[in-house]
Symmetry: C2
Subunit: 388 residues, 2 copies
């Protein structure tokens, strides 16, 4: 969780949608339907909901990218170069690159929310807003990497390692400004409210990142579960919630529906973060070769770890001793087992399930028509790897 | 010029307006009226135009500060603390402070431009926009100090030295977001255009700061006068121009008048920067105790220095030798004299006068009524220290 706004750990190429593209009917939303515990192992082939999610993500990418390329192209030379590098569209020397610019989950949520409550017309009207949300996401990534001194992003050296810290800060500043300009120039009546909401979200993201860096300086035993949950909500939940809420605004949704969409995105975002933290300790069942225990080696205060620390169990005492003395001969499997024995894994998986249940309730409230809610449901299941 | 957006060198208390407050009639604008070379020595007492400028600055501060305190108060705790410290309203420990938060020249320009073309009603409507401009200015200062590693701002330790680099970056990010939210929540019909303009200005400020940091890595002989003028326009002129243009937007001004107001602010901003650079070498005639030659000791590529370097004179050759070997026994007076002999001082003062002449022409174009233009004229004279 040492990231400003967490990127998905699996940044590899999306599974090919195969023959399911466009043929997958809307699936019913409503009450949560468990098909096994969240984050359980899968066979690696896209299921029906995943197929729909992949299609929505690819479609969002295809619609938003031209807008992004257009506004990024309007930047002055040096800022443009850094931005295009960060998005994976240029190499550091300015030659074209075919790198992935992320999964477009946030733009896809904007568009799916607009479509759910306003149909294709609202969806089409929300493309600029979806691009603005993606710009804000990427602005936070640029600054996040500077603050956390992260050197790799989407399998490439981070922008600050290539262009220097000042230019990475400046490029992030410029991307935030571009996001706001995109919305300010949008004649849609929802644009001012969307701008205000996105600006509020930036403030929340900043507060979340502050909380994260502040926690890094404290011992794991000094951090409460409420604190770390609040931080994860601000860092990860806030922008997913805002994406859904902004889509709702473009569909002319009521205040109550917009609030429910925000809550849906937030809760799904928290569920995602919980699962992501589980994967950071016990590995991604969908991805071979993922180093298991990386977060433990870095002594991250991830959600399952803090849950284990605050469990009051004998295993918690043992974990505190293990965490206090990092060494190169760490037995990461043993630490992972200790977190598990202290209940950290079960807690995280149950929390994720609970959060998804709340997300589904909020979704059903905002979008009672199950068919209309299908896109948002598929995306939420995709990010939390629930689909099977 | 090592600052993102240059603050005024004289950040001390404003001269007391004395008996002139409110009694000074509007002064005629129009063609520039020279009363001696720009930046010439004065007797230290505020003259009539300075009295008017001081009144406008104090009035702007009084109107904008409540809005700023309100929006800064809405920030989450840690971000709020950093922002209030940066604005000089709190000590680092959160106790109240009575520090100066700057001269409010940019908000005063917004309000004066609105008043010049739209009267008191437009002026009152533009207060939120004026606060937004001030937030953007302060966001750039926070980030500027991080990038330039400056340790003092407004006579206090900079925010990053007190709260750390990550929190100073985050507080700056949050201030940019607050600025955009203020405008987005403003129901005035000019708000979207003002938001777009302010966002564009942020991009230009970023490009200017990039150019500045990039030039720092080059030798003074490798920098052209055009480059350094373009950089100063982006870093200093752009926000002063935007402030005037946004005021015009709130007055319902035509596109042509808004463009003329922008040009007025830009040119006045460049004149200010030229005079500020002259003061950075030869000292401020209005302020005893200002260390003369500070910019030379730091080997800054300020405008008079680049002019001297590119003059093709024998003194330029001598200057290149002096600049190449900084030492603690630098004879700064001798270097200053060499810049002067190479024509750097005359060039800067003539350029400043030319820029002010263009500024006055643009002002006369946008605001033909001399009485209505009086406030903007007084502010422009104040920042360039032309008033006597």
């Amino acid at each position: 969780m040492g990231e400003f706004l967490t990127e998905f750990r699996t940044e590899t190429t999306l599974p090919a949608p195969g023959g399911q593209r466009g043929t997958e009917p809307g699936r019913p939303a409503g009450a949560p339907k468990r098909r096994g515990p969240i984050g359980t192992q899968r066979d690696g082939r896209p299921g029906p909901a995943e197929g729909e999610a992949v299609m929505l993500l690819e479609r969002a990418r295809a619609e938003v990218d031209p807008v992004l390329r257009d506004v990024l192209g309007s930047l002055p030379g040096p800022m443009r170069r850094i931005a295009l590098y960060h998005f994976g569209w240029e190499q550091a020397d300015g030659t074209p690159a075919d790198g992935g610019s992320g999964k477009a989950i946030r733009p896809a949520l904007v568009l799916a929310a607009a479509a759910a409550l306003g149909g294709p017309e609202a969806r089409a009207a929300a493309v600029r807003a979806a691009a603005a949300v993606e710009l804000v996401h990427n602005f936070t990534l640029l600054h996040d990497d500077v603050m956390d001194r992260d050197t790799t992003r989407r399998h490439r050296p981070t922008a600050w390692t290539v262009f220097g810290v000042p230019d990475a800060i400046l490029a992030g500043d410029a991307l935030q400004a571009l996001a706001m300009r995109l919305l300010a120039e949008d004649p849609h009546p929802a644009a001012p409210a969307a701008t205000a909401r996105l600006a509020d979200c930036v403030v929340e993201l900043c507060a979340g990142q502050h909380a994260d860096t502040a926690m890094e300086r404290r011992g794991p035993g000094e951090v409460t579960l409420d604190e770390v949950l609040a931080m994860a909500e601000a860092k990860t939940g806030a922008l997913l919630g805002s994406a859904c809420a902004i889509g709702g605004l473009y569909a002319g949704a009521s205040d109550a529906d917009v609030a429910a969409l925000d809550a849906f995105g937030r809760e799904a975002g928290l569920a995602f973060q919980l699962i992501d933290d589980v994967i950071g300790i016990w590995g991604d069942p969908r991805r071979t070769g993922k180093p298991v225990g990386a977060d433990l080696a870095a002594r991250k205060k991830s959600l399952p770890v803090v849950a284990a620390f605050t469990s009051g169990t004998p295993a918690a005492v043992e974990l505190a001793e293990l965490y206090a003395r990092p060494s190169e001969e760490d037995d990461l499997d043993h630490i992972a087992l200790t977190v598990e024995r202290a209940g950290g894994r079960d807690w995280a998986q149950n929390q994720a399930a609970d959060r998804m249940a709340v997300a589904m309730q909020q979704l059903a409230r905002a979008v009672p028509d199950p068919e209309a809610a299908g896109g948002l449901l598929a995306l939420a299941e995709f990010v939390t790897r629930r689909s099977s």
